[in-house]
Amino acid sequence: MGFLCLRLREAVSEPRDDRDLVGAALGGDESAFAELVRRHQAGVRRCAARILLDAEEARDIAQLAFIRAWENLARYDPRWSFSTWLYRIASNLAIDTLRSRESRERTHAGHLRLVGDAVEPVALGLLSEHEVSRIFDELAAVLPPMQRAAFVLREVQGLPTAEVAAVLECTEATVRNHVFQARQALRRELARRYPEYLPAGGNRS
């Protein structure tokens, strides 16, 4: 029966779900794994980039996350969604990288604005994606690793609180705490470095 279902499914070339692809990959089907990479790469790469704030390092970590997933596929628990499991691997790698980077550097870049960088007052909402991206990377650098990961997964990527808790292996209350603290720090940094971008009335602590 299962076999028949599989044949029928193939015959109408219905897209296979993640668990089917994991099953095929476990049987050694590399193209099934390539399909999983194709499906999930955008989110994993985006999160890695926003947590690490370094494009090159983020690309390496995202690749390594998929390689680890392939090598540990037998340990994947299908009760979780495959993407949750992937985000967990990628987040752990990214957080470890941040921590080792911190202990390696200890010095803070300071993120000084260039003299003459003063801009005309303009709503943040009117800036280009590229400029928003640059400002986020600058401000998010002050967030500690877990806070940054929680903020990126929850607020940038938009994963539900419960899923972020599963990814970061903590409680939902902890996720909310991290997110609220991250927001507060971002507000503070925004007010300090780019007061001209703060929405009217948004200058709260």
Partner: protein, 165 residues
């Protein structure tokens, strides 16, 4: 979702209290609608950043998939080399190379698992003809590079043909 509906949900959205489906629809609207975004940004400036970051990762998706799959094969080759087969391969390679080029592979050092060449040897060398060795049905291509000035030095490079461009 209309702007009015979204405006009503904004406080719960900011408080992280919306159910996942309602949150997804609200987020979708906020990403697309500048007027509603201005309303949420006034309440919580961090959304001015979070909702406006580019949705796509930089770089081509297929190139990334290819890089990951290449990485898997590279790992497999490395694992194979760490296994006992390397000794057999090194011995076979040494015989073939000695026969073809009349040079010797320096013994005792760790085999080069990747295509890293020593910087001092690099400018003067020219790749010898590749020697193809079968290992249990899986092909491994072995290149040996020598420095003409010092035939005692040889660098062996083992490559999985699937990784070659």
């Amino acid at each position: 979702m209309t702007c009015e509906e979204v405006r009503e949900l904004i406080p719960a959205f900011v408080a992280l209290e919306l159910e996942p489906e309602a949150e997804r629809l609200t987020r979708e609207h906020l990403t697309a609608c500048a007027a509603c975004r201005a309303a949420i940004e006034e309440l919580e400036p961090a959304y001015a950043l979070a909702l406006r970051l580019p949705a796509d990762a930089e770089g081509d998706a297929e190139a990334f998939v290819a890089a990951v799959m290449g990485g898997l094969r590279q790992r497999r080759v490395e694992r194979r080399l760490r296994g006992g087969r390397w000794r057999w391969l090194a011995a076979a390679a040494a015989v073939v190379i000695a026969f073809l080029a009349g040079t010797q592979v320096r013994r005792g050092g760790e085999p080069a698992a990747t295509a890293a060449l020593s910087p001092t040897a690099a400018p003067a060398v020219r790749p010898a003809e590749g020697t193809f060795v079968e290992v249990e049905g899986k092909g491994i291509r072995l290149y040996q590079i020598t420095d003409p000035a010092d035939p005692g030095v040889a660098v062996a490079v083992v490559v999985d043909p699937a990784l070659e461009l």
